[in-house]
């Protein structure tokens, strides 16, 4: 126990590690906030140039960027209505309406405090419940991952779009984009049209930068001449009453975030959307309706996406399965440093496990400091005229797309995705489900096929498995209810039940 505490304190006691964590967190906030720059991209670039560093130093910087980046996306979501990262998609739904009411400072302050709370809860969960949560995740089989992916995409579709059909269309389109390239099981080309460039697939960061960066830049061209909405950022430190009032919903969202984060493949983005949905359902009488600036709708996704960071480390450190894209990159970093993430990591290198726990906690403390300060500088960047910002977004998008694999073709793809995103936006489609589809599509495809192979290709066996396994049954019911909620059937049943009762 004393050993664990000693390892835990390493990052707090070493000034250089303190410095690296602080720099990482601050840089992460800006990386997360600028649309087109992603934490995944920053983490992958950081790995290439921290290669020669010690493992603690490299991890301190990357963990800082990770924690800061997940939070940073919320700032542009609140101030500009552009989520800096997919995990901030749900934040924009209520954060931006709050900013429009002149409550941007309050929204940022509240989201910072709740993010830190969520982050620390995630870290505590990582430290205490890691074995238990990973046991639960172990019980999930391929069907369950398929169901989770479907629920995730449909949730984004129902939450962010103007109609369910448009959300479902975009989600499916994203899945299709994710399928491009050589099939990992049979090496057969899918939608490659004989092009070598398409055989490697479309990196989802390229799609994300295209749809969110270039697409948004083109869409914003119309508004160049208009005066920028100056968001008044006044009071940043939230009132104690507000924190106390929303503590319960923050705790609840942190719990959801930790569990969703711990499921392999599902990270902060799904956690944030599920927590938003949960807050919407569980808040009976919000002061302001959801979507028009409900503080509950701001707090839930923010607490959840930061809690998911701690959660995402659980399967990564205990099973060697990444919880999300960034932890997948961190696994790569550990391999580079000669470490083997998996069940033996905790046994052979307990110091590393406790160091990560301590460092994540430290990054969250820095998040509190940087989150509640420096907003004036941040808003100055945000107040930059669109005429200057738009060309810069295009340049940064091109740079980000190129940096993934040093492939110039990715720049053209990014521009093409941007043009498609522009037309979709013009006709009321949301691009969020597309991105989630691209990220989750390959995972869902692999799990669908594993489940089908498990059922020996027999459709009735395959379907039966969904209702005979308890975990699959719960998830299947969740999916069916989600689909029913989009049709008049559920309302009709509710009406009948209430009619019979009265």
């Amino acid at each position: 126990m004393m050993d664990a505490l000693g390892f835990l304190a390493i990052s707090f006691s070493d000034p250089y590690l303190l410095f690296l964590t602080a720099v990482g967190t601050l840089a992460g906030i800006y990386v997360g906030a600028v649309p087109g720059l992603s934490v995944t991209m920053a983490a992958s670039i950081l790995i290439s140039f921290t290669f020669s560093w010690g493992v603690n130093e490299a991890l301190a910087l990357i963990a800082g960027v990770y924690v800061g980046g997940v939070y940073g996306g919320s700032r542009t979501a609140i101030l500009l209505n552009i989520p800096g990262a997919p995990s901030a998609i749900a934040t924009a739904l209520d954060g931006y309406p709050l900013a429009k009411k002149g409550l941007a400072g309050e929204a940022i302050g509240l989201s910072t405090v709740m993010s830190v709370m969520g982050g620390l809860i995630g870290v505590i969960a990582l430290a205490i419940a890691a074995p238990a949560i990973s046991d639960l995740a172990l019980m999930f089989n391929s069907r369950d991952y398929l169901l989770l992916g479907l629920i995730g995409i449909l949730l984004v579709g129902t939450l962010s779009g103007e109609s369910f059909a448009k959300g479902a269309f975009c989600g499916a389109l994203g899945v299709l984009i994710g399928m491009i390239g050589l099939d990992p099981m049979t090496a057969q080309g899918r939608f490659t049209f004989g092009s070598i460039n398409l055989m490697g697939g479309v990196p989802y960061v390229v799609a994300m930068i295209g749809f969110f960066g270039v697409g948004e830049a083109l869409y914003q061209l119309e508004h160049v001449g208009k005066a920028r909405i100056k968001q008044k950022v006044s009071r940043i430190i939230p009132s104690w009453q507000d924190v106390k009032k929303y503590l319960k919903i923050g705790l609840r969202a942190s719990g959801i975030g930790t569990i969703i984060g711990a499921l392999p493949g599902t990270g902060g983005d799904i956690a944030a959307l599920l927590a938003y949905d949960d807050a919407k359902r569980s808040t009976k009488n919000p002061e302001v309706p959801f979507g028009e600036g409900a503080k509950e709708g701001l707090i839930a996704p923010e607490a959840a996406n930061n809690a998911a960071v701690g959660g995402a480390f659980v399967p990564m450190l205990t099973l060697g399965i990444p919880g999300d894209a960034v932890t997948a990159i961190i696994i790569g970093a550990l391999f580079i440093h000669g470490l083997q993430p998996g069940p033996l990591l905790l046994v052979n290198t307990p110091h590393l496990f406790w160091f990560i726990v301590g460092n994540l906690a430290l990054a969250n403390l820095f998040l509190l400091i940087f989150g509640l300060t420096g907003i004036k500088v941040f808003t100055k960047i945000v107040e930059c005229p669109r005429a200057i910002l738009i060309p810069l977004i295009v340049i940064l998008s091109a740079l980000g797309a190129f940096a993934i694999q040093n492939n110039p073709i990715h720049i053209y793809w990014t521009l093409a995705f941007g043009v498609v995103g522009y037309f979709l936006k013009k006709y009321g489609f949301q691009v969020g489900p597309i991105i989630l589809g691209v990220i989750l599509g390959p995972m869902m495809d692999a799990n669908y096929r594993r489940a089908m192979i498990g059922a020996r290709g027999d459709v009735s066996d395959f379907l039966l498995d969904f209702v005979t396994n308890p975990i699959s049954l719960v998830l299947s019911i969740g999916l069916v209810l989600l689909l029913l909620s989009q049709t008049p059937v559920l309302a009709w049943i509710q009406q009948r039940i209430s009619g019979e009762n009265s």
Binding site: S48, F49, N81, A92, S160, E162, S163, A165, K166, A168, F169, G171, A172, V175, L176, M179, D183, Q188, R190, F191, L218, L221, E222, V224, R386, A387, I388, I390, P391, L392, V394, I395, L396, A398, L399, F402, A403, P408, I411, Y412, L415, Y422, F423, K425, K426, Y427, G428, F429, Q430, V431, G437, G441, M444, D445, Y448, R449, M452, I453, V459, F462
Partner: protein, 158 residues
Amino acid sequence: MKVEQGPRPGEIVFSVCLLAFSGWALWQSYAISGLESLFGPGVFPMLASAVMVLSGLSILGRTLKERRGQSDNPSSVFAYLFPIRLIVFAPMMVAFAAAMPWIGFFPSAALFILASIAFLWRRNLIWTLAITALSVVAIYVIFRLVFQVVLPSGVLWS
């Protein structure tokens, strides 16, 4: 993320295009491995494109219902989709991407930033030049020096 509200000229044509694309995607997905096995590489793409076809039909149906009796003239559709700024800016963007392998990332980025700020902002040249120079230097320091991203230097100079 904002979505366009109010009447959207050309919405019916757009919905038809989406449906046609979905149908083509379904056909392409079928061409991958057919229906020989239920765990072949083409099955999941077929499921995804089938969802696109179904939701595309639903979107078209709804659009037709909402816009019954309304007709768009081609000029309003064009004005809605292609405002003048887009017509000028989009080709500049493509020119930037096309010129990059030839003249290098930084020269093409500088020209693109200069041209687009001059077109979109319309302030005096000194300011435009100063902002361009500042942006390019900042990008160089952050990405080339700190992150050490290797960017195309241009085949014309090598």
